[in-house]
Structure formats: structure tokens, C-alpha cells
């Protein structure tokens, strides 16, 4: 099994006709993802290498039965694109776009919760989601991941997600699903959403969680793990030595006071029984030990 997406997921790419949307849409299709449609109100009726383009997500859903959307629209249009997707009837919306204003994120997160409670949003500013061998939606390099489980990955950082997939593949450890939740202030899907889904997934036997400085998402995840997770969790938190108050790249990665530091996050995770690596390689090694202890290697 996998979580959120698999080989049956039919995806419409909002912004398929743009350079990024086209590049990754075609790459995802080549990987095996069911890329069924694109949208662009000005180019409805055309196609991108055989993938039909519609004016709206609603039209794409009606014609192709799309169940998910992937947004490559530039930041100013993301708010409308997310609404278009939710109104159009898809149940899973992945927003790759970075640079979305925080007020827009907060607005559409709450709008979806109120009017479209059964729609899951992933992102913005995330690498997307891959269930290796089944579907790759977003910008992850699919070939670095080994399919089949038993590990589920959830990460706030793009490149560290790839690093984690690679570390595991090097050790011949497969992945059920790898979810990049993104580092923005209001992520649509949280660590806890993913941890709960992995806990419920039979094929996932252990979870790798990659956090970073800023906010309190890792501390909240630690509390969830302590009370709700039976499966082992291995973690790495980036930014252990980041100076307080410095903003490093991600909008979300701002340290305020002691809350939000990598040290505070690692302490909270360790207290919840999580094995914490000090760098991505060490986290990979810890996961290899966990898999061995579970008798799965």
C-alpha cells in the first residue's frame, strides 16, 4: 500500500502549458503517473504531447475523471488555482509553487477546511509526493527511490527529501510513500497527517521524518508519536547550529526564542522514543538498524 496517491490516481496539471508544468508533467507521466489533463483557460482544446488541456479543473474532471491536481501556477495565481481545483471536484491538491504569500496560504487552508473538508492540500512550496513504482506527482527525481516499502518518509525540506530517499536506496531499503510537506508557514498537510496515515498503512513498517528549524510542527509531531504511533520513527532535524533569529532560505525556518530550535525539536522527538540522527547519513544508518531489528532486511 501507499498513502494518499497510487497507480490509480488520475492527475490534472494546473499550468501544464507553462515551462515548469510541462517539464515536470511530462517527467511524471514518463515515471508512470496517470497524467490525464492540463488546465489553461486560454488554451482549452489544445494538448501537450497528447495530454488534453481544459479551461478549468471542473472540465478536466468531467472529461477525464481526474482525482488529484498538481499546481505549477506562478505564486500570484495560486489562491485562485487551489479554489478552482477544490470546486472542480479533485480530492487531493499538490501545490509545488514557491513564494506564495502567507496570507493567501492561511486563507485557502481555512477555506478548504470549511467548504471542502474532504479535500487534502499538500504544500505550497513542496517537492510533491511519490509512491515509488506507482505515482510521482511533483518535482522529485523518481529514479532515486526504491519501490515497495517498508519505510514511509515525510519531510519539510526538498533536497533533504531526495537525500533521504537516496540514503535508503543505497542501503536497499524501499519506500511506500515519500511526502514532502514543504517548509512554508501554513502547510496544507502536516507531519501529523502523514504520521497518522503511515500508522494506518499496513505496508509501512517504519517512518523517517525530516524536520527543520522554525515553528513547532516537530514538537507537535513528537507529542503525536508518543501517544499514537506504534511504528518506529527515525528523524533528522536540519539547522542544529543555525544562529537564533537568522532566516535561512525557507520562509518557515525562523527561530524565535528557544521554541523552534533544532535542539528543542530533537529533545522532544527523543523523549517521544524517536531515534534521532545528527545528519542525514546517520539517520539512514539508524533506519537500517530499525529495519534489521524488525527482521525486514
Amino acid at each position: 500500500m501507499s498513502i494518499f496517491v497510487d497507480e490509480t490516481t488520475k492527475v490534472v496539471y494546473q499550468g501544464l502549458t507553462g515551462s515548469q508544468g510541462r517539464f515536470y508533467g511530462l517527467l511524471n507521466k514518463k515515471y508512470g503517473t496517470k497524467v490525464v489533463a492540463g488546465t489553461n483557460p486560454k488554451k482549452a482544446g489544445t494538448d501537450v504531447e497528447g495530454i488534453p488541456v481544459f479551461a478549468s479543473v471542473a472540465d478536466a474532471v468531467a472529461e477525464t475523471g481526474a482525482t488529484a491536481s498538481c499546481v505549477f501556477i506562478p505564486a500570484p495565481g495560486v489562491k485562485d488555482a487551489v479554489l478552482d481545483a477544490a470546486r472542480g471536484g479533485v480530492k487531493f491538491i499538490v501545490v509545488i509553487t514557491e513564494g506564495v504569500p502567507a496570507h493567501d496560504e492561511a486563507w485557502f487552508y481555512n477555506e478548504l477546511r470549511r467548504d471542502f473538508p474532504d479535500v487534502r492540500l499538500l504544500g505550497p512550496n513542496c517537492p510533491g509526493i511519490i509512491s515509488p513504482g506507482k505515482a510521482n506527482i511533483g518535482i522529485t527525481a523518481g529514479h532515486i527511490a526504491k519501490a515497495g516499502g517498508p519505510v514511509g518518509i515525510v519531510s519539510r525540506s526538498g533536497t533533504l527529501t531526495y537525500q533521504a530517499l537516496y540514503e535508503l536506496a543505497q542501503k536497499d531499503i524501499g519506500v511506500t510513500t515519500c511526502v514532502g510537506i514543504g517548509g512554508d508557514p501554513v502547510p496544507g498537510t502536516s507531519f501529523i497527517d502523514c504520521l497518522a496515515a503511515f500508522e494506518a498503512d499496513d505496508e509501512t513498517k517504519a517512518v523517517m521524518m525530516i524536520g527543520e528549524i522554525g515553528g513547532s510542527a516537530e514538537e507537535e509531531a513528537a507529542a503525536f508519536i508518543a501517544s499514537n504511533m506504534s511504528k518506529p520513527v527515525v528523524s533528522y532535524v536540519a539547522g542544529v547550529t543555525a544562529p537564533a533569529g537568522k532566516k535561512m532560505g525557507h520562509a518557515g525556518a525562523i527561530i524565535s526564542g528557544s521554541k523552534g530550535t533544532a535542539q528543542a525539536k530533537m529533545d522532544a522527538l527523543r523523549e517521544a522514543g524517536v531515534k534521532v540522527g545528527l545528519n542525514p547519513t546517520e539517520a539512514g544508518e539508524l533506519m537500517a538498524e530499525v529495519i534489521k531489528e524488525l527482521g525486514l532486511s
Binding site: 517527467l27 505564486a75 500570484p76 513564494g99 506564495v100 504569500p101 502567507a102 496570507h103 492561511a106 486563507w107 487552508y109 481555512n110 477555506e111 470549511r114 518535482i139 522529485t140 527525481a141 529514479h143 532515486i144 519531510s155 519539510r156 525540506s157 526538498g158 533536497t159 533533504l160 527529501t161 531526495y162 537525500q163 537516496y166 517548509g183 508557514p185 501554513v186 525530516i210 527543520e212 528549524i213 515553528g215 513547532s216 510542527a217 507537535e220 533528522y236 536540519a238 539547522g239 542544529v240 547550529t241 543555525a242 544562529p243 537568522k246 532566516k247 535561512m248 532560505g249 525557507h250 520562509a251 518557515g252 525556518a253 526564542g257 533544532a262 545528527l278 545528519n279 542525514p280 547519513t281
Partner: protein, 383 residues
Amino acid sequence: MDLLEYQGKQLFGRYGIPVSPGAAVTTVDEAVATAEGLGYPVVVKAQVLVGGRGKAGGVKLAADVDEIRTHASNILGMDIKGHRVDVVWIEKASDIAEEYYASFTLDRAAKQHLGMLSAQGGVEIEQVADENPDAIARIHVNPVDGLSEVDCRAWVEAAQLNPAATEGAVDILLKLYEAYTEGDADLCEINPLILTPDGRVHALDAKVTLDDNAVFRHPDYEQYDAIQLRDEREQAAHDKGLQYVGLDGFVGVIANGAGLAMSTVDIVNQVGGKPANFLDIGGGANADVMAGALEVINNDPNVRSIFINIFGGITKGEEVANGIVQALARVKIDSPIVIRLDGTNADEGRAILAPHLSDRLQLQPTMLDAARSAVELAGGASA
């Protein structure tokens, strides 16, 4: 990005939030002319983005023309924590009966806006939050609903301000929420929000941080870019469009992706080194970007070695390697370089780098090995 006090007050003014009359000036003569126009006493306030300006002598009360001249000439050009004061704000002094604190920011955990209001303003609000959290009345605002007058009033009542301040506070907070949302601010803070002896409420200070991502909606915000606090290295990197944060060590760091860059800074520290910077060159690693990054790092006199940490995802190893080789041909680098190249087509990339390798351009197989080499080449671990 952060606004100076007077810029924050100008923003507040556009939303009808009462502030003291005043003007931002850059010369002593202008300061005097402004004060004469306002009538004494006036307050002279240094306009800098660093905190602690009051303690540094950057805020003074002037009762007459001699005092305004003295204070303005002392404060203009003053150094506050390494930052020169180029602008002072002159405003009419206010009589203060009570000082409050008010702000709006985004509560990431609750995924809603958070308003905070306290009757104990004017002092270190963080201390109040620590020692007496109940002294701060909080309200969560769902962005879809906005802030209603009824909820705002209940919030103000919960903060137990002087009843004489209630109407004025409700009015200001509704306007502050509007400034915060329409202005795409990360933070709108008034400390202190004052009640005057004659019962008026107004903003005596303004602290505003705007969301860089929302500049497309507010083209006028570009004017604030030039005042942001950056050291020389950070400014050079900013001009090249690089994500750079200056640190105080001696190992220059270049990585692709913010997470990997943070992780690289961590691992340099873990093996006993001290990173000179955080630098994220983004997903790709073409020759232009790499050359720009190397230039910025090479110009940092503290750098004694450079660690380039690249993980190829969609970008293939050979493209990254070619980018590095071309960049090195363009920029003369003074410090030895250690490269770690992994991920997609790493072997092909390493083969391209092989003929260029030397004692001063090393390739290491893992992040840990590369970090150790970089620290060693810099002269060993820091004391």
C-alpha cells in the same frame, strides 16, 4: 522585510490609525524646522532596524530649539550596534496616561491569525508573556471570516484596559487588522499603544514586517528593500539573487537547496569547524550561479576553505560538474575547495571533475568526509 518606525506609521496612517503628527528628516536644519512647525516639546527618534535604540541614546525629548538642534545633531550619524542613523523621526510629544501592547501575526500552529493585546505595554512584552501570560489577551482570527467588531470588542474587554480606552482601542484594532491583512504583513505591532489623559488612544510606535512573497501585490514595497539589514557579504549575494546568510566562521559553504545547506552548516560544526555562511544556490547548479556563489565566498576575508555540497536530483551530476568546472575557469579562488557530489549521475559528474582535481580541489565521497577535509584544509578545528 522590516520597516522603519516612520514607514510603519505611514502605513498605519493610510488605514486611519491615529499616530502623532511628525516627519522623517535627514538633516539638523530639517529637524529644527519640523520641530518649530509642530511646537514643543517634540521627540527625536533614531530610525534604525536594530533594537535597543533608546538605551543607545537614540530617542530624546526636546523642549526648545536648542535641544532639538543638540539632539538631532547627536543622533544623526550616530552608530547603533554597527548601524549608522541616517534618518530621524520628529514627532509631537504625547502625554501618556497608560501604555498598552497590541499586535497581529500569523500563528503557524493554529493556522490562523493571532491578535495579542495587553494592558501592560511599553515594557518588554516578551517578559510579560513569560512571567504573566494571562496579562496578554489573545484572539484567533480565521482569515476567511476576518475580525468582526463584536469579537474585537470582547477581546478588548478581556484585556482589561482602562474603560476609557475601549472605544478607541476597538477602532484602532479593527484598522490594524485591515492594515495587517491588506498590507500582507507578517507582523503589525504597536508598543506602546497609549491612552492620553484626555481619553484618546493612539499608536506611539510601529513595528511592521512585510511578507517578501507579497511584493507582486504591492509594487511600492520595493522601496523598503534598500534599508534591510545586510552586511557587505549579504548585500553582494542579495544583488546576485543568492540565498545567503553570513555567519562568523571560516569554512565557506555552498549547497543546493535550503535544507541541504542547513544540513551542511550543521555537519561543518559537528566536525569542529565553523561555517562562514549559509548559501543555497537552488535546485540547479549552472555555471553562472556557481560562479556568482564562489565570488561572494571568495570575497569573504575570513574564508579559509570552501565546501561545495551538491545533491543531483532532476539536475544531473554531469551538468553540476560542468557548472563547477566552468565557474572555476572564470573566477580565481584563493581558498582550497572540497566537493561532495551525489545523487543522479554522480559517477558521470565525478568523472568530469577528475582531471581538475588537486590538493586544492578535492572530491570526497560523503558529506562527512568532505566536511572533515574542508575543516582540515582550513587549518583544523576551531579552538
